[in-house]
């Protein structure tokens, strides 16, 4: 038994060292990249791009399922985006509420026979509508396909531009977000095949007419902790992975892809739980198998604000689903691991996801079990345990404060001192008991996946009201 504990101790220690070193390296890379990006922005002229003939047409695909509360505001917001050639395709995915009627009233929709080539599989289409107010708005009304991926595929079939941008109907894009996310593509259209933008937490902020009026930190602790998580994930994780061309996830709430490539991989996988991650993984596979010289970028300044769960139940469901999605993508792509053909994706990005994302809750649980077992057997060094716990706590806080620092020196969206103090204090408070709860939710996700429970459970949301605070 002691031998087993010893083995477990060693394994967990090296796992912990590996995990911390990787996060530290990511933090350093991210800080360096963000500083360079900020300097670079000084010489950018987005105003010129806004009218540039070099900007390729983009189709925005907005899947909407029971979005009656927010659809008017969301679409109006998209129609006002700064971009020279923009087509908006809203897919009403079998909504049982008034989503279609809301759009019909607001945008004076009329049924049309627009071009729709059912190249990518999706549920049957009921009708296509074009707005009389805005010529670039097309609404695809389809039967419920049971997944967001299915709705996006319908939008993909109706898209007529060389690039698609997928946006959630409950998200708010900053006016120049599309211009900013297109910059890497405009700079190198042959190599850049996809770009991800940053997702920020909308809860607590003031919105007026679909536009973000004032950024504020949410009131509830659970929401503030998610703000820190999003900052950490995007401003540190994605920034660093993107820098090494190893970005594996482009958030489903805001990302641009080359249309022909999305079609080439067969569109979004309708049954995928994490359809965004799945698509990027399949794109990497296809391009690496073709031996293509390509890049998938992350740009930290085009901001998309989205509502996050504000109650524990919804958050638990979301996190369990994310963990299921992770396994759902990693397992079919296990053949990519450590094969020279798949380059750094197979050697670094995927192993990191397996080790430090997928297995993390299992390892955490094993760690806790080891501590309990050692205590029961009387071999636990309390002194060392406390020291190690303190180190873990202090180090995890370094990473969290690092992400707040990133936000401070770059985009600085939280202007109130009060907000910054709260944000920093939650960097210290998130470790107990939120982290442990998070571990349980992720374990639940894994368990559900192994049991074959793939049901999509709805999350409670407020939606984008006309003047929500």
């Amino acid at each position: 038994m002691i031998w087993l504990l010893d083995l477990s101790n060693h394994t967990l220690f090296w796992y912990y060292v590996g995990s911390n070193v990787s996060y530290l390296v990511m933090l350093i890379i991210a800080l360096k990249t963000a500083a360079a990006h900020q300097r670079r922005l000084q010489s950018y002229r987005l105003g010129w791009l806004k009218e540039s003939p070099l900007a390729p047409p983009v189709t925005m695909i907005v899947p909407a399922h029971n979005e009656e509360k927010s659809i008017r505001v969301a679409v109006r917001n998209l129609l006002e985006l700064d971009y020279p050639q923009l087509e908006i395709v809203v897919v009403n995915d079998g909504s049982q509420d008034r989503t279609l009627e809301e759009m019909r009233e607001e945008f004076r929709l009329r049924q049309v026979r627009a071009v729709y080539v059912a190249e990518t599989k999706c549920a049957p289409i009921r009708g296509l509508y074009r707005s009389e107010n805005s010529g670039n708005l097309l609404v695809v009304d389809k039967e419920a396909g049971g997944s967001k991926a299915d709705a996006i595929n319908a939008g993909l079939n109706a898209a007529t531009s060389p690039y698609i941008c997928v946006v959630d109907a409950d998200s708010v894009l900053e006016r120049d977000a599309l211009l900013r996310i297109m910059v890497p593509i405009l700079a190198d259209p042959k190599r850049v095949v996809a770009v991800g933008g940053i997702i920020r937490v909308l809860n607590g902020s003031e919105i007026e007419g679909g536009h973000l009026k004032r950024v504020r930190l949410p009131r509830k602790s659970i929401e503030v902790i998610q703000v820190i998580e999003y900052l950490r994930a995007f401003l540190i994780g994605r920034e660093a992975w993107g820098q090494g061309n190893m970005l594996m996830i482009i958030s489903g709430a805001f990302g641009v892809f080359r249309t022909d490539l999305v079609r080439a991989v067969g569109g979004y996988r309708a049954r995928a739980i994490g359809e965004d991650f799945d698509l990027v993984a399949r794109m990497h596979r296809l391009l690496l198998e073709r031996g293509a010289d390509y890049q998938i970028h992350f740009v930290p300044d085009p901001m998309c604000w989205t509502e996050v769960p504000s109650d524990l139940r919804s958050l638990a469901r979301q996190r369990a689903r994310w963990q299921k999605g992770l396994l759902d993508v990693l397992w079919p792509n296990r053949d990519l691991l450590f094969r020279p053909r798949y380059g750094r994706i197979g050697s670094f990005a995927l192993p990191h996801l397996w080790l430090f994302e997928l297995f993390a809750p299992v390892v955490e649980l094993t760690g806790l079990a080891t501590i309990v077992l050692a205590a029961c057997l009387g071999v636990l060094s309390r002194h060392f345990f406390l020291q190690f716990l303190l180190f873990g706590y202090a180090f995890a806080t370094v990473i969290s404060i690092g992400s707040v620092l990133q936000e401070e020196i770059t985009y600085k969206r939280y202007n109130d001192w009060q907000d910054v103090f709260r944000l920093i204090s939650y960097c210290f408070l998130e470790h107990f008991p939120y982290r442990q709860l998070h571990m349980i939710w992720r374990l639940q996700g894994l368990w559900q996946y192994l049991r074959g429970d793939m049901a999509w459970k709805p999350l409670k949301r407020k939606g984008l009201g006309p003047a929500r605070t």
């Binding site: 910059v183 370094v398 401070e408």
Partner: protein, 405 residues
């Protein structure tokens, strides 16, 4: 007395962890301290700046006319930065007269000379900042300093210089850029290069031609794209040499440029290019045909309407709807192609243009060969499908993947 390090050493195996704790706690403290100090500093700085901006704004006219001696603010870096920022921001949105006044002020006060000096002598981000400011002035005397910066080792400096040169929108700047890319090749991303050249070559697009002819590989593509954007009727004959070029991008650029050429020349060339094996060359040719807005383009647009590529079909349909040719004969010709996808693209374009009722009324009023033909055309218009091929074809088309991109 025992030092802290000795005490740590005595802890034995736990010493490593204790050191790690100390390091992590110190890192936490430093990060926090940095955030708080930075915030405090910025708050004070911006308060002070706002106050000074307001004061300077009150005397702005006296300041730029020279009534207030330049030396009174030039010697203070804080004031100088504010005055320069206000003047440069003013230039962005100024009328021609106001621009001339501001530029005169920037010259007389020596701010331009200072920036030229900085752009030549400084290194790193300071040089970049000077280049950005110099570009904002659009002063021709800054062109040489910016062109020197194009040879900097740092790619960000090169980009700043390129963007600055682009802002001047002067053919002289275009010459400098073209000489540089001629020497070094494409050593910056294509977009900023193209943007800068489009602005600088708009006045004299002809200066591009010899460089496009000599350039190779990706640079040739990039320059070809610029040529396509800035071409004017005056360089139409020069473009003919690129119509049969091996490079797809250059053929596409020629096709794009043809929309600015004499129609008689353009139709002949575009007639060839709409049959090009590369889809985006065909697409450009179709778009150009549409921009010519001439009924003579209809036969070639019908070719585009039956293209295997969806985007080509869509653009051809839009162009057909836009042409000044009578709508009923056009519709008859579209139906005559017997292409379901072409027909659907055309009807979509008709609907998008809000012309469906107009076409229906025209069809009702038209004198056609027979009543049956009229009925058939009306039925096709209403149902959106060709009766002879698939009478019950649904509105939504099935997959045509074999011929699609």
């Amino acid at each position: 007395m025992e030092s802290i390090f000795e005490r740590l050493w005595r802890l034995g195996p736990a010493a490593f962890v204790v050191k790690a704790i100390v390091a992590a706690v110190v890192a936490d403290g430093l990060l926090l301290g940095f955030i708080l100090v930075r915030r405090t500093y910025r708050k004070r700085y911006f308060a002070r700046r706002d106050k000074r901006v307001f004061e300077l704004r009150q005397v702005w006219d006296d300041l730029i006319s020279g009534k207030i001696p330049y030396d009174s603010w030039r010697q203070k870096a804080f004031d100088r930065r504010i005055v320069e920022t206000i003047a440069l921001d003013g230039l962005e949105a100024a009328s021609a007269e106001e621009s001339a006044r501001l530029l005169k002020f920037l010259r007389n006060s020596g701010l331009i000379e200072k920036r030229i000096y900085e752009a030549r002598t400084l290194k790193g981000w300071r040089r970049m900042r000077a280049l950005v400011a110099l570009g904002q002035t659009r002063a021709p005397e800054g062109i040489f300093a910016m062109s020197q910066a194009l040879r900097d080792r740092d790619p960000e400096i090169r980009l700043a210089a390129l963007r600055g040169l682009g802002r001047t929108a002067a053919p002289q700047a275009a010459e400098e850029i073209l000489t540089w890319v001629g020497e070094r090749g494409l050593c910056v991303p294509a977009l900023p290069l193209q943007s800068a050249l489009i602005q600088c070559c708009a006045e004299r697009p002809k200066i591009l031609i010899p460089y496009v002819r000599q350039a190779k590989g990706p640079l040739r593509e990039a320059l070809g794209r610029v040529l396509g954007e800035v071409a004017t009727p005056s360089i139409g004959p020069d473009l003919l040499q690129f119509v049969g070029d091996d490079l797809d991008e250059l053929r596409a650029a020629s096709a794009r440029a043809m929309s600015h050429s004499e129609p008689s020349l353009a139709f002949e060339v575009l007639h060839e290019l709409v049959r090009d094996p590369i889809w985006f060359v065909r697409l450009r040719a179709i778009v150009s045909l549409g921009e010519l807005d001439d009924a003579r383009a209809v036969p070639d647009l019908l070719v585009g309407l039956t293209d295997s590529h969806r985007l080509v079909r869509l653009r051809a349909a839009e162009a057909l709807v836009k042409t000044d040719a009578p709508i009923v004969p056009n519709f008859q010709k579209v139906v005559g192609t017997h292409d379901r996808y072409g027909l659907q693209a055309y009807l979509t374009a008709i609907e998008n243009a809000g012309l469906q009722n107009h076409l229906e009324a025209e069809l009702q009023a038209a004198v056609l060969g027979s009543q049956d033909e009229k009925e058939s055309l009306l039925k096709i218009l209403r149902e959106g499908c060709l009766p002879s091929t698939e009478p019950d074809a649904p509105v939504i088309s099935p997959t045509k993947s074999a011929s699609l991109p």
